[in-house]
Each structure stands twice: as structure tokens, then as C-alpha cells.
């Protein structure tokens, strides 16, 4: 029983970087922009978070710096793609490569250092409840922030006027423009939010999960987060399902091996990707479904009529 709690605790924490990155990217894509630079923004967040946390001794400052670094990177992407109208796919790939390189350069003096990880919260009485206590009330604050963020985004997109405008811009930027909304400004705001989220996701890796800096430490999580957005068919709630499928399966299969359960780890590692492909096929097999799910203006350049 105790072991089951430990395993579940591991599963709850493992996908948090994915949740942050994917929920940010979801907002970006709902506004009609495809930012493939997620991996680059995450790694910049990882080094920014780690270096600032180490130098200032404050993890909060580190997390804030990570959000800022991610947002700056996203801002550059926004200027290039929204103002200068460069190709979003190519610019996003460039941002990833740029981010990995810049983070490596930035991190040169930081390899081999280590910070103390973020303390777990302890709520009087609640955290001490057997089973439910350690599972629900004894994580670090960022875990709760991630969940709150998903709920907040879901509420924002479906219940607020601003969310409606953001979706309108993503579905039909010409119409949104015609009725007077500033398409570029909305998209820039979405991008900055997405960048900040990706930065925090990266910082979660470098300051909480493995509190050190090594090059490439995001190891492809940005790409997985992109896949999760598609898997979630652009719905916030499903981002959680996707992230936990990806992250949970990884942790579960490590435990399965430790127990000596004889299944090939490769099949389990493959599983989330197979599911993503399946979801892609299902949502794109007819045109009506595609338009129900994917933002109609996704990755299309917006030329403001003058």
C-alpha cells in the first residue's frame, strides 16, 4: 500500500513540465499560431530558472526568471511571425535550435552546480491523512499551479469575453479583424503566455525534478508537449489526460520493470505516441470533425488589409 502511494506520487509529479508547456501551447494554437519552438523555450526556461535560483538563492525568483525567459523567446517568435510575417513552422524550428544553443552557452558556468529543490507543502492535518494526504496535499506549489492553470485556461476560453475573442482570432482572423479586433495584439499576448508557461515547465525540470543543469536536459519534452496539444484536440481538460498518459506510462513502466514484470519496455514507451496518431486519424478523417477541433486559422499568416 505504501509502495502504491509512492508510485502514484511519482506519477503525479512526473508529467508536470508537460502540463505547463502543453497548456501554454494550447492557448497559442487556439489563437491561430503554431509555435514549434516549445523545446527551445523550455530549455531557456530551464537554464534561466536554474541560474537565477542558484545565484539569488530564491526559487521563486528562478521560476519568475524562467517565465520571463520563455516569454522573451516567444516574443521574438511573435515579432518574426506576426509582424514580419515569417513562416511559422520554419521560425518555430529555428527557435528550438536557437534555444538549445543559447541555453548551452548560458549554462557553461553552471554545469556541476546544484540547488535545493522546492519544498513540498504541508497542510496541517490534511497532509497527514493516510493515502489521500500524501497523494493530494503534499506536493510542491508548482504542481497545484499547473492544475490551477489548466482550470483557469478552460474557464478563460469558454467563459470569458477575452477568451471568446482569442478563439475568434484563431478561427477566422479576417472576420475578427473586420469587426475591429487587433489580431496581432491578441496573438502576441497568447504567445507571451505560452512562452512563460513553457519556461516554467523547463524550470520545473531544472529546479524541482532534477535540480541541476546539463545541456539538452529537456530531452525532447517540448515535442511531446506539442503532440499532447493535438492529442487533446485543443481542449484544456484533455491536456491533463494526455500529459498523464505520456508521463504516467513512463513512470509506470519503470516500476513494472523493477518488479520484474516481463513486458518489453519499448511497447509501453510507444503507447502514448500510438494513441496520438490514433487521435489524429480519428479527428481528421472527415472535414467536419477537423473544423470542430483544430483552430481554422492555425499556422496561417495574417495579412492585415490596409
Amino acid at each position: 500500500m505504501e509502495l502504491a502511494v509512492l508510485i502514484l506520487q511519482g506519477i503525479i509529479v512526473a508529467p508536470i513540465p508537460l502540463v505547463f508547456a502543453a497548456i501554454g501551447e494550447l492557448v497559442v494554437e487556439r489563437s491561430g499560431v503554431l509555435n514549434l519552438g516549445l523545446e527551445g523555450m523550455m530549455i531557456l526556461g530551464a537554464i534561466a530558472g536554474f541560474s537565477v535560483a542558484l545565484d539569488s538563492g530564491s526559487l521563486v525568483a528562478g521560476i519568475a526568471a524562467a517565465a520571463l525567459a520563455g516569454a522573451i523567446a516567444a516574443g521574438i517568435f511573435g515579432i518574426l511571425t506576426q509582424v514580419l510575417l515569417s513562416n511559422q513552422v520554419a521560425t518555430g524550428l529555428a527557435l528550438t535550435i536557437f534555444g538549445l544553443g543559447l541555453a548551452a552557452l548560458w549554462g557553461q558556468g553552471y554545469s556541476g552546480e546544484s540547488t535545493a529543490p522546492l519544498a513540498k507543502i504541508h497542510i496541517f492535518l490534511l497532509s497527514d491523512i493516510p493515502i489521500a494526504g500524501p497523494l493530494l496535499f503534499a506536493h510542491d506549489p508548482l504542481v497545484y499551479l499547473a492544475f490551477a492553470l489548466v482550470a483557469g485556461v478552460a474557464w478563460f476560453l469558454s467563459k470569458t469575453r477575452a477568451g471568446l475573442i482569442l478563439r475568434a482570432v484563431g478561427e477566422n482572423h479576417d472576420a475578427a479583424h473586420a469587426i475591429g479586433y487587433n489580431v496581432v495584439a491578441v496573438r502576441m499576448a497568447a504567445l507571451l503566455f505560452g512562452g512563460a508557461c513553457a519556461g516554467v515547465g523547463g524550470a520545473y525540470l531544472s529546479t524541482v525534478q532534477t535540480p541541476f543543469w546539463v545541456e539538452n536536459m529537456t530531452a525532447g519534452r517540448g515535442w511531446i508537449a506539442l503532440a499532447i496539444v493535438v492529442f487533446a484536440s485543443w481542449r484544456p481538460g484533455r491536456v491533463l489526460v494526455g500529459a498523464y498518459l505520456f508521463g504516467g506510462v513512463t513512470v509506470a513502466q519503470l516500476h513494472a520493470q523493477g518488479f520484474g514484470i516481463d513486458i518489453d519496455a519499448q511497447y509501453l514507451s510507444m503507447l502514448p505516441y500510438l494513441v496520438t496518431i490514433l487521435v489524429l486519424v480519428l479527428i481528421s478523417h472527415n472535414k467536419a470533425r477537423v473544423s470542430l477541433n483544430a483552430p481554422a486559422c492555425l499556422a496561417k499568416p495574417f495579412f492585415a488589409p490596409s
Partner: protein, 357 residues
């Protein structure tokens, strides 16, 4: 003084190529292909130390280049081919670069290639590796002695002979000093993914392992061990910075002398295709300082094993040893042949679980 030029490889994977200052034509040009980043504090870091040793030994007579983060797929062939145009000798430093190296070598017969940890050679392709299993034997002895739960966690990368050999050597040694010891082996299917390595370490610790060994390249597992207060062994580099209280020792790869010798051979025109497999004896494998937390007598035992192996008095695989299925492998007193070790694709008796294919 070095210019650093970053060339961007197309596709999702970025390969960064840094090139030393362009120099006179008579310099010997040496290329290195790394599977991870030079700052990984593990496998690639030590190869980078080897490259720096070459630069230090020959100064202006050589020009070295390295490409880091090259994935073991089609990218590898592309990078090696790029280097082959304009380099005299190229070191490809990961097992998965074997076939790409041979493929490119065929097309560039004048360029010398050195492939680490592989088993296929050609007239212009040498192979070299270190007998890491000698180090694994020593850490196995220590682990068997210090474990209280009799459960050793082992984070393994890919089921290739190199890794399997390490598991067998460590288990055989641990079992020899502690007959009730068990190994929990987790395959992570990656050489380098700190997050996943950390998750594997947590899983093993949660399941009762109180000593961790790893055959992956980042210090993540060491750091988790430090956090949880359980013992661990470093891999490839000294990882003491990440586990100041819990690292018992570390197996260190020491490539410098070999790289210097091979570059010298190219300069002298004496280079030929050969297979090098060195261990403690010539110093290609070293152990980091033994931790004070290892009991005195165990430290002495480990040091003796290390010295005996180096002197050729002890072979880590000395029979009787059966294979996992109970069939005999080595008779009493018989030692494993190199060809058996090179292709090792079986667990020895007592290791639990089946070897992934």
C-alpha cells in the same frame, strides 16, 4: 583562440559543430563525434577530456573539431561524412555510430576512423574500448557488502553486450560476497535523459533498493540518491559533486592516452587498423577515490581487486559460472575469453528478469 561556428542540422535534432581556428595545411586534423553534450558530466565529457589531452600534447601540430549531440541515426552518417571531408582521423564515440562509421569509411579510404565500443573493423577503421566491466566488478564487490536491503538498483540504457557485461560483472562480484543479493534492473532505453533517469532512480529506491548503479550518462540518478540518502556509484566521470555524501566511488573512463597515441601514429605514418581493449592495467579505466563511508575492510578488498585485475592476477569472470538458464558457461577456474565478452548477450545465473531483445 578558437572560433566557434555553429552549424545547424536540419530536422528536429540540432547538432552543433564547433571548429577550431583554420590553420596551416600540414596540421593533422582530428575530428570527434559525440553522442551527448560535452557538458553531460559523464560519457561524452570524458571523451572531450581526451580531445583536450590531444590538443595539449600536440599544440599547434593538430587541429581538433568536435560535433556534439549527434543522434545514433541517419544524422550520424551525415555528420561523419561531413567531417571525413578534410579530417585525417575521426573518432566516433558511441556504439550506435558503428554502421555509419563503416559506411562512410568505405567512401573515404584515406581517412582513418576510430570507433569506440564497436566490433566491426575495416582497413581504415580501428575499434577501441575500455574494459569497464573491470570497474563494474569492483563496484559490485562494494555494493554487495554495503547493502542492507540486499537490493541493488541498476539503471541500464540499451541491451547491448557492453551494458549486459557490466550487469553480469557487477552481479557476479556482489553475489560472491553476499549470496542473498538481488539486482533490480530497469531499462530506460536512452543514454541521456536526466528526467527519465531520475524517475528510474526514484522507482528503484521506492522499491527498496539502497544502492544504485547506473549505465546511463547523466548525474541525475546520483543526485536523486543524494536527496534520498542512499548509496550510488558514478558512471564514466567522477560524479562526486552531485553526490558528495553518497557516491561510494565512480568508474572513470580515461581516453586521453589512447587518443594521443593514435594521433601520434597518424603523424608518424604508422597508423593501422587494430582492436584495442584496455582496462585498469594501462589506465584506460580508473576508479574515483573510494568514499570514507565504505567500511575500511571493504575498501581494502575493493582496492586489492582493482590492483589484482590491473596486474592480470584476477579476471572478473572466473568460473564456475552458469548462464541464467542454468547451462554451464565457464568451468571452475576458467576465465572468459574476449570473444565471449564482446558478444555477451545473456545474463549469468541468478540475475532476475529476462534480457530485452
Amino acid at each position: 583562440m578558437k572560433h566557434v561556428m555553429r552549424i545547424l542540422a536540419a530536422g528536429a535534432v540540432a547538432a552543433a559543430l564547433s571548429v577550431g581556428a583554420a590553420g596551416a595545411a600540414e596540421k593533422v586534423k582530428v575530428g570527434f563525434v559525440y553522442v551527448g553534450p560535452v557538458g553531460d558530466h559523464g560519457w561524452t565529457y570524458e571523451h572531450e577530456q581526451g580531445r583536450l589531452a590531444v590538443e595539449k600534447a600536440f599544440g599547434d601540430e593538430v587541429k581538433t573539431t568536435y560535433v556534439e549531440n549527434v543522434s545514433e541515426g541517419p544524422d550520424a552518417a551525415r555528420v561523419i561524412q561531413q567531417l571525413a571531408r578534410g579530417h585525417d582521423i575521426i573518432f566516433t564515440t558511441s556504439f550506435g555510430f558503428m554502421n555509419p562509421t563503416l559506411k562512410v569509411a568505405k567512401r573515404f579510404p584515406k581517412v582513418k576512423f576510430e570507433h569506440a565500443t564497436g566490433f566491426k573493423r575495416a582497413p581504415n577503421v580501428s575499434t577501441y574500448s575500455a574494459r569497464f566491466y573491470e570497474g563494474r566488478y569492483v563496484i559490485g564487490l562494494i555494493a554487495g557488502k554495503v547493502t542492507k536491503t540486499n537490493t541493488i538498483g541498476y539503471i541500464a540504457s540499451f541491451p547491448i553486450p557492453e551494458v549486459v557485461r557490466g550487469i553480469n560483472a557487477a552481479f557476479f562480484a556482489a553475489k560472491s560476497v553476499n549470496p542473498t543479493v538481488k539486482f533490480k534492473i530497469v531499462w530506460v532505453n536512452t543514454w541521456f535523459d536526466p528526467g527519465k533517469e531520475a524517475d528510474a532512480a526514484r522507482a528503484l529506491i521506492d522499491q527498496g533498493a539502497d544502492v544504485l548503479m547506473q549505465h546511463t550518462d547523466s548525474p541525475a540518478a546520483m543526485q536523486i540518491s543524494e536527496e534520498k540518502g542512499i548509496f550510488a556509484f558514478g558512471q564514466a566521470s567522477d560524479m562526486i559533486k552531485f553526490g558528495p555524501n553518497v557516491q561510494l566511488t565512480s568508474i572513470i573512463d580515461n581516453w586521453g592516452p589512447y587518443y594521443v597515441a593514435r594521433v601520434k601514429a597518424v603523424m608518424d605514418g604508422t597508423w593501422d587498423s587494430q582492436d584495442t581493449w584496455d582496462g585498469f592495467g594501462p589506465g584506460m579505466v580508473k576508479m574515483a577515490a573510494f568514499s570514507k563511508r565504505i567500511p575500511e575492510d571493504v575498501r581494502a578488498m575493493a582496492a586489492k581487486a582493482r590492483d589484482d585485475i590491473g596486474a592480470g592476477k584476477l579476471h572478473p569472470f572466473t568460473g564456475p559460472i552458469n548462464k541464467q538458464d542454468g547451462s554451464p558457461w565457464l568451468k571452475a577456474g576458467e576465465t572468459a575469453s574476449d570473444s565471449d565478452l564482446v558478444g555477451m548477450n545473456f545474463y549469468i545465473e541468478g540475475v532476475e528478469g529476462s534480457l530485452p531483445k
